[in-house]
């Protein structure tokens, strides 16, 4: 994690992959504009860029999902090292050439075992039986060599995200991949899981495997890669070896301008807005359950809830939005115990939410931007005239929101589904913040957003905090949590840790707690090992 590993250069690095002047257009949009990229054996190359920079398009061309309009993909032969052009638009050809891809959204059939997923498609399909002894031996060999350990007899749906990723990597290696492409591999991992993934990748690179990592987080790219290529707006705007790279210049290359970094100013918190006392919600499923949770959110304070997704955040968010009721325990809003759990009632009390899945829960794609802005307030007098919706008023508010929040869209009457993720989030921020809420429940507010949109979200949340709103920030992005939060609690398997003040937070400790280790246990461990008490 500390410094970049050097490429394994005992022999002179051999060129494995050459992308030559790849151009791909989607209508008027040029997704890839004459991009060149070389990858050598044993090298880890990071492909950096914001959303829409063309990283995924480029990789889809490499893998044969798209056909490039111009340019060629050339791969060195397994035996002779001679570059040969890869047949465009044929995933099978890419597989045969030794290119393996691990998509951000795993391509695993969840009803099958890990072994079945790996073997799928590698054996002749019309056979009366499946023979797994050879496959098993090969996989055992691969696992022991790389540290990619996972129980392959389990159905995939029983595996953790990190384990699923290992199955994906094994899938590629089982097909004798010589080049492994990983699309945003750490997006769903805890910091510890990410570190262990990087260790595995370095080990694999040392054996001659070439790796391309598509990423947008700088820190991890600097930690694992040998070389960095940066894309912006479909063009390659920079390329450097990692030891020559520095964070700031890369960020500027990616965004194309200076990125404002939000700073949290000291502020004494005000009165309590919402408090949870010994809340238990048992839905039989860890994702939707909470166990004896107590929390307190105060005015002018950002309370960060750190955790790997699927550890009860959804239950917590539902509860605070009034969409679910606790089995036991009490919720108090402004010191008054809540008796009726009703989303509308909660909203009336000034609780606003930025939902986790902005496309699914945050807006209605087929309705217009203006309708989406007004949707939470259709009962309000402001938007009614004689009991009918007053579309003039709604449109006027939408125009303001579009201007104030810099929502890039064709206009208030455009269907919301045409907006990009970042603009949808701005739209939601506009809807939520314009009402000067008392409490903002922000669930993964910047997930999947590019650097620019992310900094906008952060600025707005801090602004709301300055203005005296309480913010509950649920996130799995440690950088985000550490930048914004006054206090942080960790959620794991439905249990919430005691709150830690921002000043006392240690990054790696937070990571361990997200993985399920209790703060005290960890302290005890370090003390026993002679570490700082």
């Amino acid at each position: 994690m500390s410094s970049a590993a050097t490429p394994s250069t005992e022999t002179s690095p051999q060129l494995l992959l050459k992308l030559a002047a790849i151009t791909k257009r989607f209508g008027p949009l040029i997704a890839n504009d004459a991009i060149d990229l070389d990858v050598h054996r044993g090298e880890i190359v990071a492909l950096l860029g914001e959303n829409g920079a063309g990283k995924t398009t480029l990789m889809n061309i490499l893998f044969g999902h798209y056909v490039a309009d111009e340019g060629a993909v050339m791969v060195a032969g397994a035996d002779d090292n001679i570059l040969a052009t890869l047949e465009p638009g044929a995933p099978q050809a890419a597989l045969d050439a030794g290119i393996g891809m691990v998509h951000q959204h795993f391509t695993l059939a969840e009803n099958l075992t890990g072994l079945d997923n790996i073997v799928l498609g590698t054996e002749p399909i019309f056979r009366l039986r499946r023979d797994r002894t050879k496959a098993r031996a090969k996989l055992d060999h691969l696992m022991s060599g790389s540290g990619l350990n996972v129980d392959l007899n389990q159905p995939v749906h029983k595996l953790t995200v990190g384990e699923k990723q290992r199955v994906e990597i094994l899938k590629a290696l089982y097909r004798d991949a010589r080049l492994l492409v990983l699309d945003e591999p750490t997006a769903v991992l805890t910091p510890q899981e990410a570190d262990s993934l990087f260790a595995i990748l370095r080990k694999l690179a040392a054996t001659g495997l070439a790796v391309i990592i598509i990423a947008h987080k700088l820190a991890e790219v600097l930690a694992v890669s040998h070389r960095i290529a940066i894309l912006r707006g479909g063009k390659k705007v920079g390329e450097m070896t990692t030891d020559q790279a520095d964070r700031r210049s890369i960020a500027e290359l990616m965004v194309g301008r200076d990125v404002p970094i939000s700073k949290r100013r000291e502020r004494t918190p005000g009165a309590e807005v919402i408090s949870l006392h010994n809340i238990t919600i048992d839905r039989g499923d860890a994702r939707r359950s909470l166990h004896n949770v107590s929390l307190l959110a105060r005015e002018g304070e950002i309370l960060g809830i750190a955790g790997v997704s699927g550890n009860g955040q959804a239950a917590l968010a539902q509860l605070i939005a009034g969409l679910d009721r606790p089995d036991s325990g009490t919720v108090e809003i402004f010191g008054e115990p809540v008796t009726k759990f009703d989303a509308h009632q909660f909203a009336q009390n000034g609780i606003a939410r930025i939902p986790e899945d902005r496309h699914h829960d945050g807006m209605i794609g087929s309705m217009t931007v203006a309708e989406n802005i007004a949707i939470e307030d259709v009962r309000s007098r402001d938007y009614q005239k004689f009991g009918f919706l007053d579309f003039d008023a709604i449109r006027k508010r939408a125009e303001h929101a579009i201007a104030d929040y810099d929502v890039r869209c064709p206009g208030p009457d455009a269907p919301a589904r045409l907006l990009s993720g970042g603009n949808i989030q701005k739209l939601i921020l506009a809807r939520v913040l314009e009402k000067s809420p008392k409490l903002i429940l922000a669930n993964q507010p910047s997930r999947g957003l590019d650097v620019g949109a992310q900094s906008e979200v952060h600025r707005r949340l801090l602004e709301a905090r300055e203005g005296g709103a309480a913010v509950i920030l649920i996130s799995e992005d440690l950088d985000e949590l550490l930048t914004l939060s006054d206090q942080i609690a960790v959620i794991h398997a439905g249990h919430v840790s005691p709150v830690i003040a921002a000043g006392d937070i240690d990054r790696s400790e937070l990571g361990l707690m997200m993985a399920g280790q209790k703060k005290n246990e960890h302290n005890a461990d370090t003390r026993a090992a002679g570490g700082p008490a």
Partner: protein
């Protein structure tokens, strides 16, 4: 007391298995389609087409097994229509399926009427005869109940085993189960999603049609209008009941067959008290009840009903 005695007669279980036979074919066919991610509501029409085509082939002199083959081909044909509409074209599986049912039913009736314009009573063929297997057919109870059925019933039971083997023991079955859960996974492994889905729908539809042919070539000896009478829809429900597993499909079909056989016998026992429609309703009511219990927890193939397009992710 007599009511319980019914359940202990070989005659009752023979009837249950006979009633279950077309359903076994139907559920197996439906579950193969759905395991690959395609709901096939064409089943009701495909049953009709199989019943008509099989019977007509025999009537024209093709021989009984020739008739079964023709029925399967007819089913495969309508399956192919449904598959093309729903897989590469990605149209609504519900709409396409109902369309295929209407088309196949009407086309069967039309063909029958055109071929036999002046017939008042349906012409008869010599159907499959009950088997007489040495020793086995003479066993007490199980002999008459199981080993004196027709060859098509035996084929249905064999198909339960074959379907299970293919789905769970062969690479092809692995690919079919994968394509119904995550087609992108199949594509990423270099297999064709379209070929797998189309193949599964065609094969499943062929099986359904053989179920239809059982009605005209084994259970009865003639084709008449309305004879499918919702059996296809029952199969769709039984597929959920069976959790898409061939073994449970057999169980579900037998359960339904037993209910149906039971209500017929019950009518003669206590028919005086209740209108006969109540008894006719019974197997369906019990199916709904069973479905409520089982289907709430059902683990649907994840990609069922979800169209998948090449190059789109």
């Amino acid at each position: 007391m007599e009511i319980i005695d019914i359940l202990l007669t070989a005659n009752f279980w023979a009837a249950a298995l006979r009633i279950a036979t077309p359903l076994i074919f139907g559920v197996l066919g439906a579950l193969i389609c759905e395991r690959a991610g395609v709901l096939n509501l064409g089943i009701e029409g495909i049953f009709t087409a199989g019943a008509m085509a099989g019977w007509m082939a025999v009537w024209l002199g093709a021989g009984l097994w020739g008739g079964v083959l023709v029925a399967a081909l007819a089913g495969g044909f309508f399956g192919l229509i449904h598959a093309i509409l729903t897989v590469p074209l990605g149209l609504s599986q519900h709409v396409s399926g109902i369309g295929v049912t209407l088309l196949a039913t009407s086309l069967s009736y039309f063909t029958y009427r055109t071929a036999l314009p002046d017939v008042t009573s349906p012409p008869r063929i010599i159907p499959f005869q009950p088997l007489d297997i040495p020793i086995l057919s003479d066993l007490p109870f199980i002999g008459p109940a199981l080993f004196s059925q027709t060859a098509l019933t035996m084929l249905a039971l064999v198909m339960v085993f074959v379907t299970g083997w293919v789905l769970y023991r062969t690479p092809l079955g692995l690919a079919i189960r994968a394509v119904g859960d995550n087609p992108s996974a199949v594509e990423a492994q270099g297999l064709s999603v379209y070929a797998l889905r189309i193949g599964a729908v065609v094969a499943g539809s062929a099986l359904m049609a053989v179920g239809g042919a059982f009605l005209t070539m084994s259970a009865f000896d003639a084709f008449f209008f309305g004879m499918i009478n919702g059996r296809g829809w029952v199969c769709i429900a039984l597929t959920v009941f069976a959790s898409w597993r061939p073994g449970k499909a057999l169980l579900g079909a037998l359960l339904f067959g037993a209910f149906d056989a039971f209500q017929v016998r019950l009518q003669t026992e206590v028919g005086a008290f209740l209108p006969s429609q109540v008894f006719l309703m019974m197997p369906y009511l019990l199916s709904i009840a069973a479905l409520i219990i089982v289907a709430r927890k059902a683990d649907y193939p994840k990609a069922l009903l979800v169209p998948w397009f090449k190059g789109q992710r």
